[in-house]
Structures are given as structure tokens and as C-alpha cells.
């Protein structure tokens, strides 16, 4: 969702009055509730932890297995692209421009005569790098700030809420255009930096909600009454219970960040040639859409499958951790 900054839950969270509508709160709450039998009774079998229960579900879920395998494959080819693509993505031959597939060049050639297969394989590296690094940055920054605000509350919480409001009010693609159009460096770093800058408020809201919920648990109150220090409370009691919604949202966000990088590159402000990125290739192929649709379709397909894999993985994990909708 490159030109969206919000998921519906967040739209609801942002507009609901007070914290009760917050996705994070909702999610964390439902994670506490375990499956119930008829009459609302819990089964009396062995106690199961949230994580082992979720893992048991995931292993049986074909969506999880397929998306997991796709992601594994993507990571492998972005680490060692030469294993399956022999040529260089920058070796182009104008005389072959727009040609269809031929022996050794299964995807054909693009408008510059570059091999579409090789470029598509190498494009994975950019996408995976941006996705993973941006998600790490967003997750660390967002969950630390969100957790602190949720834990300490008061003025910090208010200030953080206002700041996230400000960031939510700026359309992402627009912000990207404004910020990145003045940057000349042609690497993934400005794109990653931009995504972290605009992405952390989303995660901070989730983390804040999750921490507030976890904080209200009786055993946390008990530990506090027994004089546990802030850091001990946070790390031992709250974090393990607040981390599930953060992981779910971060996984889904990873997919959207990949789409965002491609969108910015498509608009000409993300990576620029001679970098290799699916967004660049799609943008370059769009003028030749009549004569050489393959040059557009392959990188588009690769991009779509990649984003889909991450979003489906996140969805599967969410379902496993949230038994409410089973």
C-alpha cells in the first residue's frame, strides 16, 4: 500500500475517542483470551503457552508455509543472486531492446536491451534490503518510544501522541517526494531513513497500546507492589506480553515498505538508475507498455509476489496469535 499510510485498524484507532479503540489494545487483549469450549469454559487439558500454541497452528497453515518458503527463497537470491543469474544486471545491449524471450533470456529484454530476468533477480536485493532494514529501524525506534510512552504515561504519552498525529497527517508518498527529491545520493540509505522517519509512529502506537494493556495485568501490578524496578518490570513482565502485536504489525509493514520503495523509485525519487530496483524497471518499462509488456510484467509480478508473501506471513501470524476469529 504505497500511497496509504494507514490500515483500517489505525484509522479507527486514530479516530476513536480515547485509547479503547486502539488496535494494540484490542489485539493484546484478545491474546490473553484462550479458546473456549461451549458454555464459555476453558478446556481442562494441559496449559499451553501463547507461542507454542501459535507455532502449532502455523506449522499446519499452508499460507504460512508457502509465504515462508517464498521469503526464504527471496532472502537467498538477494544474498547470492549470481547463483541463479549468470550475467550482470547492468550489461545491456541496445540492439536487443524490447525483444521477447529467447534461449538464455527467459524474460526477454527491456527498452534499454538489458536482460529482464537478470534485473528481476538482482532487484530482489534492493527490496529485501530496504524492507528488512527499514522494518528493523521502525520496530526498534517505534517500539522503544511507544513502550516508554505507554509505560510512563503522563506528559511523555501526550507529547508522543501529538507527534504521531503530526506524522499521520502527512501523506507518505508526498512526504517521500518532498524529502527525497533533494537528496542526490543514489543508495538505499536515504529511502530507509525516510521510511523509518515516517514509519515509526505506526509501530509506536501499537507498542504503546500493547504495553498499556500488559501493564494492567494483575501479575504486573503484583510485581510492582513487590518493588520490582522499572527496567525489570519492562523487560521481564511487560515486554514478553507486548511483543506479539508488534511482531505481527512489523511483518505486514515490511511488505508495505517494499512496495513503498518501489513506488518512490517509480516516481523517480527513490533509487535512480543505474541502481537496480523493481520500481525503476517498472517505471522504465511503462513507456513501452504496448510493444514490450513483458518488461513491465516480470518485475511487477516479482514485486507483487514479494509484498504478498510478507503480508500473508503477517496475516498468518496474526491469526495464530489471535484466536478470537477462529
Amino acid at each position: 500500500m504505497p500511497d496509504q499510510h494507514h490500515e483500517p485498524e489505525h484509522a479507527v484507532a486514530g479516530t476513536g475517542m480515547g485509547g479503547t479503540m486502539d488496535l494494540g489494545v484490542d489485539e493484546a487483549e484478545t491474546l490473553e483470551r484462550r479458546p473456549t469450549g461451549p458454555d464459555g469454559t476453558g478446556p481442562q487439558g494441559r496449559p499451553r503457552s501463547l507461542w507454542s500454541d501459535a507455532w502449532r497452528d502455523l506449522r499446519r497453515n499452508p499460507v504460512f508455509i508457502v509465504s515462508g518458503l517464498v521469503i526464504l527463497f527471496l532472502v537467498l537470491i538477494s544474498l547470492w543472486p549470481s547463483a541463479i543469474a549468470s550475467g550482470s544486471p547492468l550489461a545491456c545491449d541496445l540492439s536487443k531492446a524490447q525483444q521477447g524471450s529467447s534461449a538464455g533470456h527467459p524474460f526477454g529484454f527491456d527498452g534499454q536491451g538489458c536482460d529482464v530476468y537478470t534485473r528481476t533477480v538482482y532487484g530482489a536485493r534492493t527490496s529485501v534490503a530496504v524492507g528488512v532494514l527499514a522494518t528493523l529501524g521502525v520496530a526498534v525506534l517505534g517500539s522503544v518510544l511507544g513502550a516508554l510512552a505507554g509505560y510512563f504515561g503522563g506528559i511523555w504519552d501526550s507529547v508522543l501522541s501529538r507527534i504521531t498525529d503530526v506524522f499521520f497527517a502527512i501523506p507518505v508518498v508526498l512526504g517521500g517526494l518532498v524529502l527525497l527529491s533533494v537528496i542526490t545520493s543514489n543508495t538505499v540509505w536515504p529511502v530507509i531513513g525516510f521510511i523509518v522517519l515516517l514509519g515509526w509512529p505506526q509501530l509506536s502506537r501499537i507498542a504503546r497500546g500493547a504495553v498499556i494493556t500488559a501493564k494492567q495485568n494483575d501479575y504486573v501490578q503484583a510485581a510492582r507492589a513487590l518493588g520490582a524496578s522499572h527496567s525489570r518490570l519492562m523487560l521481564r513482565h511487560i515486554a514478553p506480553n507486548a511483543v506479539a502485536p508488534v511482531i505481527v504489525v512489523a511483518t505486514i509493514a515490511l511488505g508495505t515498505y517494499i512496495a513503498l520503495e518501489a513506488t518512490l523509485s517509480y516516481l523517480g525519487v527513490g533509487l535512480k538508475p543505474p541502481s537496480v530496483s523493481w520500481g525503476i524497471d517498472i517505471s522504465a518499462a511503462s513507456p513501452y507498455i504496448r510493444n514490450a509488456p513483458h518488461a513491465l510484467l516480470w518485475p511487477s509480478g516479482a514485486l507483487a509476489v514479494t509484498v504478498l508473501a510478507f503480508i500473508m506471513l503477517g496475516d498468518a501470524v496474526r491469526d495464530a496469535l489471535d484466536p478470537k476469529l477462529r
Binding site: P35, G37, P38, D39, G40, T41, P43, Q44, G45, R326
Partner: protein, 324 residues
């Protein structure tokens, strides 16, 4: 008999297997009579009631056998549309948590009036007047003004009165009250129970009172059916049971009530937990928790032995139990 449930079986498909929630329950209730159905949560008392009302979630629920004979016809054989006309009009239900059981975005007047517009084809205006009348009848002060309010604007006790008014609206022959006072403050509980009992007398309704609270039962019930793991383990007139239970589970329930005359004595608790409904123990389902259990209890499921003409117990050793 106004209502007679015969050998009812209900199952639920769950991720952990088939949960046998109701396993051959039979009970009956007459006009003006109050039957209390007693049991822990998971005993199948609510599921039985939902099957009788026809509001069981199917799937995952499934009625696998039995009859629900109400005013001479088996409700389980009716088409859904005929069944629907029975619900609300001839039998009605009162739920435990009135706050969540009332629609939060409709006024109480709309929700009460709906009974009349849908079942009786009344105009909205007439239905509104009826709603005010009903609220008066369940003793809600300033009914004319409050009819325009939403459920969350009422106190817990008042909300439960609205639930009662809604059940009463079309003067049904049978009311099923599923833990009607559990969610209320103790002081309000008595008022709501009194109201329910008064109205029952006034309209000669049959009442099935589902509860896990023996204290509530003693004052209002005529008969008691005790349920455990989807079966009726003891069925008797209320005084008989309080005098001497004929099933160790009933005894356990009675002894776990705090009593003033036994102040200072340790409170009795039934050991163990109710069984997992996907794996009900063979023989008597209660045997793992039963102080009287012998070998036969582990292999032979006890039938409902006839203790007297009006009384039954599903314990091989009911005599022993009766003698204390």
C-alpha cells in the same frame, strides 16, 4: 407438561475434537412451575436451554438426538420460520449480562417495541406506548422519559429489568432465565428475583431458572435438576434436595455454600475440575472427583435411579449418599 425435553444430545465441533455438551438430558416444566437447572459452567445447562430456544450456534453446535416437546409439538421438527414465531412470543429468554445482551445503539424503547411491531404488526407509536407500559410493569421509574434512553444509561439492575420486560412483552407461556442475577450486586439480585417470581405468579408462566447459585434456588424453585458433564445427575423437589441430597455431586454443591450456622468450620470444596467435554471419563463422569467412587463407577454409567416417585439420582450408591 408445558415443556418436555426428552433425551437431548448436543455436540460441538471444536479444534480439539467433538465436545459432547449435552448427553441425554430429559426434564420437564409445567405452567406456573419453576425448574431450577443447577450446575457448574460447562455442565451443559446453558446449551440445553439454547437448544430449547432454538438459538444454538449451528455450526459449530449440532443437535444429534432427542425431542423438545412444547405445548404438544416437537420444536426440533418445525421449520425455522415456524420456530421463529414461537421464540419471543410463546417462550422467551433472559440472559445473564443485560449490558451486552441489549443492542447498544438502539433505545430501550425501540428494542421493547420491536416485539410488538414484528410479532403483532403494531404501529411504531402503539409499540412505543406498549414499551412504556412494560417498563412500568417491571417497576422502572419515569418510564415515559427513560424509554428514549440507551442501555448504557441504565444501572445494572434496571437493565436486567428491561431484559425481563422484553421477555414478558408478549406474555409467553415459558421463560428461560439464564443466570439472570449473576452479574448483579447482591442487594439488587434479590429485587430482580422477587420481580421475576411475582411476574411468574401473575402470568402463570413456566420458568426455567439456570444458575450455579444454590442460594437463589431455595426461595423460588419448585424442582431442581442438577447437571454434570451434560447429564442430569439428580432431579428432585427442592425441599427433598435441601433435606438430603441423593448424589455426591449435589452434596458437594450444598456443602460448598457458606452457612452461618457452621461458621468457623472449613468450607467444603469439590476436589478436581469438571471434565473436558471432548474426553468425558467412562462410567460415571463424576467418579474422578467422587468421595464414594468404587470400581463399578469407573466402568458402568449409572442410569437415573428412581429414588421416589418424584425423585431420581444417577448414582450407583444413592442410598449411601441419602443416609449421609
Amino acid at each position: 407438561m408445558l415443556l418436555e425435553v426428552r433425551d437431548l444430545h448436543v455436540e460441538f465441533r471444536t479444534r480439539d475434537g467433538v465436545a459432547k455438551a449435552v448427553n441425554g438430558v430429559s426434564y420437564g416444566v409445567d405452567a406456573s412451575e419453576t425448574l431450577a437447572v443447577l450446575g457448574e459452567s460447562g455442565s451443559g445447562k446453558s446449551v440445553t436451554a439454547q437448544a430449547v430456544m432454538g438459538i444454538l450456534d449451528m455450526p459449530p453446535g449440532r443437535i444429534t438426538g432427542g425431542e423438545v416437546v412444547f405445548r404438544g409439538r416437537d420444536l426440533l421438527q418445525l421449520k425455522e420460520d415456524e420456530r421463529r414465531k414461537v421464540r419471543g412470543a410463546e417462550m422467551a429468554m433472559i440472559f445473564q449480562d443485560a449490558l451486552s445482551s441489549l443492542n447498544p445503539v438502539l433505545t430501550v424503547g425501540d428494542q421493547l417495541g420491536e416485539m410488538f411491531t414484528v410479532h403483532r404488526g403494531m404501529s411504531r407509536k402503539d409499540a412505543r406506548a406498549k414499551a412504556v407500559e412494560l417498563m412500568d410493569r417491571v417497576r422502572i421509574p419515569a418510564a415515559r422519559e427513560r424509554v428514549k434512553q440507551y442501555p448504557h444509561q441504565f444501572s445494572g439492575g434496571m437493565r436486567q429489568r428491561i431484559m425481563i420486560a422484553m421477555a414478558l412483552a408478549l406474555e409467553p407461556a415459558l421463560i428461560i432465565a439464564d443466570e439472570p442475577t449473576t452479574a448483579l450486586d447482591v442487594t439488587v439480585q434479590a429485587q430482580v428475583m422477587d420481580l421475576l417470581a411475582d411476574l411468574q405468579r401473575e402470568y402463570h408462566m413456566g420458568l426455567i431458572l439456570i444458575t450455579h447459585d444454590l442460594g437463589v434456588v431455595a426461595d423460588v424453585a419448585d424442582r431442581i435438576a442438577v447437571m454434570y458433564a451434560g447429564r442430569i445427575v439428580e432431579s428432585a423437589p427442592v425441599h427433598d434436595i435441601y433435606k438430603a441430597p441423593a448424589h455426591p455431586y449435589t452434596r458437594g454443591l450444598l456443602e460448598s455454600i457458606p452457612r452461618l450456622d457452621l461458621k468457623g468450620r472449613e468450607l467444603y470444596a469439590i476436589k478436581g475440575l469438571p471434565p473436558n467435554l471432548t474426553q468425558i471419563p467412562p462410567g460415571c463422569a463424576f467418579h474422578p472427583r467422587c468421595p464414594l467412587a468404587r470400581d463399578v463407577c469407573r466402568t458402568d454409567e449409572p442410569p437415573l435411579y428412581e429414588v421416589s416417585a418424584t425423585r431420581g439420582s444417577a448414582c450407583h450408591f444413592w442410598r449411601e449418599c441419602l443416609d449421609g
